[in-house]
Symmetry: C2
Subunit: 184 residues, 2 copies
DNA sequence: GTCTATAGAGGGATAGAC
DNA sequence: GTCTATCCCTCTATAGAC
């Protein structure tokens, strides 16, 4: 079971795209095999079970988000880091409308899954913990509550854009959040 | 196909509970039959397809939420109506932790479903439109944006409580929202 | 109206040739 | 390491007796 290889990458990438569009449960191994050009029977050489593929997708989502957060951390000012991250949902509002938040929509599905429920908190917890670290670095009172609010608002924004199928809701919501952080 | 009957009610009620706990896709007709005490083959006398059961669940969720909103509308002051509704997530925070928002979590799943995608906007749109009507009645500027923020924050709150499996996030989030509305 | 039995399709997983 | 063929189970839906 190689941890890295060309075919494994293609399978994982295909799985990630399909899960984003359809969800875990809806995505079949046949879908993933077809989309990645790997024969169905060969999928099991790289991933023992479908469950393993899904956890790999979760891990790759977390890695991707870590990269986005790391880019924001190049600013020395925690307030600017929080503002910097807001460019992400704003710049990806069409993707949010089409597929929802890559962390939140997956977490939401997994939280009802039974076997993958525990993966769900990792996804949303990542953003929440990062935001809390920033608010604490700012030295404001109530950093935990502010981080919750920051995270909840962004998750709610993604959920609305996706379920209402309308990306025009993103800009006003992000603008109001931005203004509130600037006023802190 | 009777629109109302004892067995139909039991089936719908069982479906609603199971969908809340597991989601639509995960819930099987056998689950619903067992849970309601109706034999599997008889389910099809009351609902032609599983798709029909799911839309009936959506309708019943919307009806239930309409009742909650109607109760809030007994107050003549739109600000108090908005505050009144906040008692709902606060009083049901344990249910939110266990199952997520009955509107939002279902809408989130259906938005990736293909055949039921269109039902998704009805669920979340209900709360958004109601909130917007209240803010407009208050005569504040930016009622649409305020309604979006109200809805997004509540949906985000439910998503966090559910995916983090932690109901202690609800109270601080609702409190902050309450304070902001009182300050308007 | 009610229920049993089962058809029929789909999907996860495996055997085993190469 | 790769891939075909297929097993086996689950689930939706129907047929048809009562």
């Amino acid at each position: 079971m190689p941890r890295t290889s060309d075919k494994r990458d293609r399978l994982l990438h295909a799985a990630d795209r399909l899960v984003l569009a359809q969800g875990c449960k809806q995505t079949t191994l046949a879908d993933i095999a077809r989309e990645s050009g790997v024969p169905l029977g060969n999928v099991y050489y790289y991933f023992r079970t479908k469950h393993d593929i899904c956890t790999a997708v979760v891990d790759s989502r977390i890695d991707a988000m870590r990269d986005v957060l790391a880019a924001c951390e190049r600013s020395p000012d925690p307030r600017r880091r929080l503002l910097c991250f807001l460019d992400y949902p704003l710049g990806h509002r069409q993707a949010l409308r089409e597929h929802g938040c890559p962390l939140g929509s997956l977490a939401s599905e997994l939280s009802k899954s039974g076997t993958l429920k525990d993966q769900s908190a990792r996804l949303v917890g990542l953003l929440r913990n990062w935001a809390q670290a920033q608010f604490e670095a700012m030295g404001v009172a109530d950093a935990p509550a502010l981080a919750l609010e920051y995270t909840a608002l962004l998750q709610g924004t993604s959920l609305l854009a996706h379920t209402l199928d309308d990306d025009s809701v993103v800009e006003p919501l992000v603008s109001r959040l931005r203004a509130r952080i600037e006023a802190l």
